[in-house]
């Protein structure tokens, strides 16, 4: 033991001397600077060149190595080279190219939502300590941290929805502390949100549309009724109009059709719904077939030729599935299997369509391996399900949002990488 200790002391002394000697040389070098500094920098340069030469074999002529995305990469650990990416896009099976963490704060993040142009990403954060909820927005995806949607301390802000046809516009619902009522707020880009429903009532699920002539149209649920408002910079252009009992309204891109779940008469406290497309010009409803199932959250396909929504057979413990109905033509409706992982309050923008409208993507409870839920891409024409692997480090995933324009899957999802639920971006090699 003593021998070891002496040996350690001798080694320490040796290292200390070496360090001291190196320090002296460095000081001397600084004093006799210009020439030695040039020599030193030259040496450093040659070392750097040597380090670069080690990776140069992997790089194409003119390619930059060592790219720092400024995000925490989950897989792979380093930004891929062009050669690696070429290999990835050639592979026939759908595989992960890059998974990185976009945001974590120690709280739980929920419900990522892309703007229509895919340039912005909003999500909800549960403040576990304050028992409140805030909304955050990446106005630019290059932002190191998201910006907070203006709120009041202690307020509960949720149900964020981007405006259709107005990429920077959005609406959301706020419950002020100590208040029983919820109000709809609307904002254009980074402007201060404006309350559009000042009086006391329970409002939720806003859907916002912006016309090219500057008129905004808003539909929201107010005590079970869908209500429509329209205004422009000069004030209201139409009186508020009740559209009937229903929920989950969604605008079409032309602003003349509204997709929503219409309440069946006599439903009582647990109402049943039909999925309908209302033509606001002709004031006619197209009822989509959904049988006796419970339905939730109807969503337009990107080309607006189909509608997808969550359905569940009556009865306890039945799994949620996705039903896809054509809005035009005579193609039959199809129900996709897979025991879909749904947002508990159906506040998400899902079901998540891929930009081509060919498939719907979701996480599934089927075939799960403990906390790892498989990602499923369901073909709406054939009903065929494809299981897509993603890095198993992110577990209990939820709230998946597909980027609306990127030609490969670019997916915002929330999942656990530790205790809190964080926001991730997953890029796959192809659709």
């Amino acid at each position: 033991m003593r021998l070891n200790n002496d040996k350690y002391q001798m080694q320490s002394a040796k290292w200390s001397d070496t360090f001291h000697f190196a320090l002296c040389i460095f000081r001397f070098a600084l004093k006799t600077s210009p020439m030695l500094c040039a020599l030193f920098s030259g040496l450093e340069g040659s070392l750097a060149a040597e380090r670069g030469a080690a990776t140069a074999a992997d790089l194409l002529p003119g390619e930059f190595g060592r790219i720092e995305l400024g995000r925490r990469l989950v897989e792979p650990k380093a930004f891929p080279t062009i050669r690696e990416l070429r290999e990835a896009v050639r592979r026939p099976e759908i595989r992960t190219v890059l998974l990185f963490k976009l945001f974590s704060s120690g709280d739980n993040q929920h419900l990522p939502a892309w703007s229509g142009d895919g340039q912005r990403l909003a999500f909800q954060r549960s403040d576990l300590a304050g028992k409140s909820s805030t909304l955050l927005v990446f106005w630019s995806l290059a932002q190191p941290q998201p910006a907070l949607v203006p709120d009041r301390p202690g307020a509960y802000q949720y149900m964020f929805r981007w405006a259709v046809n107005g990429p920077g516009g959005y609406g959301f619902v706020r419950i002020d502390p100590g208040s029983a009522s919820s109000r709809v707020y609307v904002a254009a880009d980074t402007e201060e949100p404006v309350c559009k429903t000042p009086d006391t009532a329970r409002r939720e699920l806003p859907a916002l549309y912006r016309r090219a002539d500057g008129i905004w149209r808003l539909v929201y649920r107010e005590d079970g009724q869908l209500v429509h408002q329209a205004w422009n910079g000069g004030g209201p252009v139409e009186r508020p109009l009740a559209l009937g009992r229903g929920t989950s309204p969604r605008w079409s891109r032309d602003g003349y059709r509204l997709l929503f779940a219409r309440e069946r008469p006599g439903g009582g406290t647990a109402p049943a719904y039909d999925v309908v497309v209302r033509n606001l010009q002709t004031e006619t409803d197209l009822v989509l077939p959904c049988g006796e199932s419970a339905v939730r959250s109807p969503t337009w396909s990107p080309d607006e030729k189909h509608v997808a929504f969550y359905v569940r057979q009556p009865g306890e413990g039945k799994p949620w599935r996705i039903r896809v109905c054509p809005v035009e033509g005579r193609a039959p409706a199809i129900t996709l299997g897979g025991d879909v992982v749904v947002n508990l309050n159906f506040e998400s923008g899902g079901p998540a369509w891929e930009p081509s409208g060919r498939r719907v993507w979701f996480f599934s409870h089927e075939h799960r391996r403990q906390a790892y839920y498989p990602m499923i891409a369901a073909d709406v024409a054939s009903g065929q399900l494809a299981v897509v692997d993603y890095p198993a480090r992110s577990t209990t995933p939820n709230d998946l949002a597909m980027h609306p324009t990127t030609a490969v899957p670019e997916i915002a999802l929330v999942a656990h990488d530790g205790l809190p639920q964080d926001l991730f971006i997953l890029l796959l090699n192809h659709y």
Partner: protein, 514 residues
């Protein structure tokens, strides 16, 4: 100093007075901010006519916040070490060469080392005269008649000196040898004015046009619908402005919606003619003036005028390939720019691509609203050069791409989607520039120079917003790569990009100076 609250993250920024009225990025959330004039109106940029959005101002520059920025001790140590090295290096340089004041402008407008001395009276003496009858290609309002002779010396391959400055070890290869300089200045671009620079061009564009919004499904001016389908695709370009003649106009972008009223105060035709005269388009083209303006904005334009003039300049030398690429780039910036459509038609007619030429002529006619460019006569003459059957029906903007004539494969599309997709998340602009450069390198490596150049330009556009300390080094490497791609492909622009890369050397020194 004045304070300003970021609209993106709400942080109160303390800014130096010289930032008043400029545009920049918040150092915290990187939102683009338009900073108010001190004691003046909220926005400093020249006000757009009623009903129009304000034009984009100077390229955004990162604002240095007055507050503390968290720095890790390791980084602090590295910064101190680097600062020490720089001080020692500067002392050495000063001792050897004597003191010389550094250039003061470190913004993206500065790399060309331009001065405010005024217009170079001589212009580009080496640029050949436009051949008689090629005025249409020079994007003028005169009617075309006859063919350009094409007898002028080509910009490439005439045996001029070449510099190897700026070619890094990671470049595509050695600098091109044996290429003639395009302008008079081969080392830097000094002595040229800033008149009609990109900012001024953007203001001119905004004054005489209305921006096509993303949701546009029709283009209707004063009750007359333009024969263009899917105009929303036009809105995807960087500057989708529809030019209008003087007066008050009612413009509709969607059926059954109220038209937008827009008033154009002055005549674009006159201003456009002045620009043409200034750059010598239709005569002795001032290539140095054109290139210096491109270099200042790292060849990323917000208006199509200068690119179209540059195309005319290449056409005047008989380099129709380079001319076509410039006209395509002009239309990539603003696909509603009528003169570039007509010029592109001329290029296409020379390659016997008559159907495409007919489409371009029809587009030139469609976007020459109220003969705003004075091109009605030229369009009529061009129509006579193509068979009538090739011009029929409305034009589908969704089917038009001005990026390239090269066809990408499915794997290319995936690679583009992946790298463009992931580049959005890069926190630092120089890293985004590197990612997009690497995408371009893929196309260069697989022998698709036009696609490579398109993505190199995207990389440069990302680098324009980067921190000056890192911007120029990366941009110079990108330009070296571009020059090398052009050289290998036999494109006339090789020397142009080489000169731009050389001009950035001075900018790097300027940015690094204390």
């Amino acid at each position: 100093m004045f304070s300003f609250q970021c609209r993106g993250c709400g942080v109160q920024l303390m800014l130096e007075d010289h930032w008043a009225g400029k545009q920049g990025r918040c150092p915290h959330c990187r939102s683009v901010l338009e900073l108010p004039l001190i004691g003046g109106p909220a926005f400093a940029a020249e006000p757009a006519p009623a009903g129009q959005p304000p034009p984009a101002a100077e390229p955004p520059v990162v604002i240095r916040a007055a507050g503390k920025i968290p720095v890790s001790p390791r980084r602090l140590l590295l910064v101190m070490a680097a600062a020490g090295m720089i001080v020692i290096g500067l002392a050495l340089v000063l001792a050897v060469r004597g003191f010389r004041p550094a250039a003061s402008d470190d913004s993206a407008q500065a790399p060309a080392g331009a001065t405010e001395k005024g217009v170079s009276p001589e212009g580009d003496r080496e640029a050949p005269q436009l051949a008689e009858g090629s005025s249409a290609v020079a994007s003028g309002p005169k009617t075309p008649s006859g063919q350009p002779s094409g007898s002028g010396p080509s910009a490439a391959g005439s045996g001029g000196p070449s510099s190897k400055t700026g070619v890094g070890p990671g470049g595509l290869g050695p600098a091109a040898a044996g290429q003639a300089p395009l302008g008079a200045a081969s080392q830097g671009l000094t002595g040229v004015s800033r008149q009609y620079d990109d900012l001024q061009c953007r203001l001119i564009q905004a004054r005489h046009s209305i921006r096509i919004p993303p949701g546009a499904t029709i283009l209707e001016v004063d009750g007359v619908r333009l024969p263009v389908l899917h105009p929303e695709r036009l809105a995807e370009s960087p500057a989708p402005y529809l030019f209008l003649p003087p007066g008050t106009h009612a413009v509709s972008f969607r059926p059954n919606e109220r038209p937008v009223t827009v008033t154009i105060a002055s005549n674009l035709f006159d201003e456009y003619q002045d620009m043409r005269r200034f750059f010598g388009v239709g005569g002795t083209v001032r290539g140095e003036e054109l290139m210096s303006r491109s270099a200042r904005v790292m060849d990323c334009h917000g208006a199509p005028f200068l690119l179209s003039f540059a195309g005319s300049r290449y056409a005047a030398t008989g380099d129709w390939g380079a001319a076509e690429r410039k006209f395509r780039r002009a239309l990539g910036v603003n696909p509603a720019f009528s003169p570039a459509h007509l010029n592109l038609a001329e290029c296409l007619l020379r390659t016997s691509a008559e159907a495409e030429a007919a489409r371009e002529i029809a587009l030139a006619d469609a976007f020459n609203v109220g003969n705003v460019f004075g091109l009605a006569g030229a369009v009529a003459e061009f129509r006579q050069r193509v068979t009538a059957s090739t011009i029929a029906g409305p034009l589908d903007a969704a089917a038009i791409s001005y990026v390239t004539t090269e066809t990408p494969t499915e794997e290319d599309r995936r690679l583009v989607a992946l790298l463009e997709g992931v580049s959005k998340y890069a926190v630092r602009d120089e890293e985004r520039g590197k990612i997009l450069n690497n995408l371009a390198v893929h196309f260069a490596d697989t022998g698709r120079p036009e696609l490579a150049l398109y993505h190199f330009h995207q990389a440069l556009a990302a680098l324009r917003d980067a921190d000056p300390g890192a911007r120029y080094d990366v941009a110079r490497q990108v330009l070296v790569n571009m020059s090398e791609v052009c050289r290998k492909a036999g494109f006339g622009e090789a020397e142009e990009y080489r000169q731009m890369s050389v001009s950035l050397t001075g900018a790097t020194q300027s940015a690094e100076s204390p």
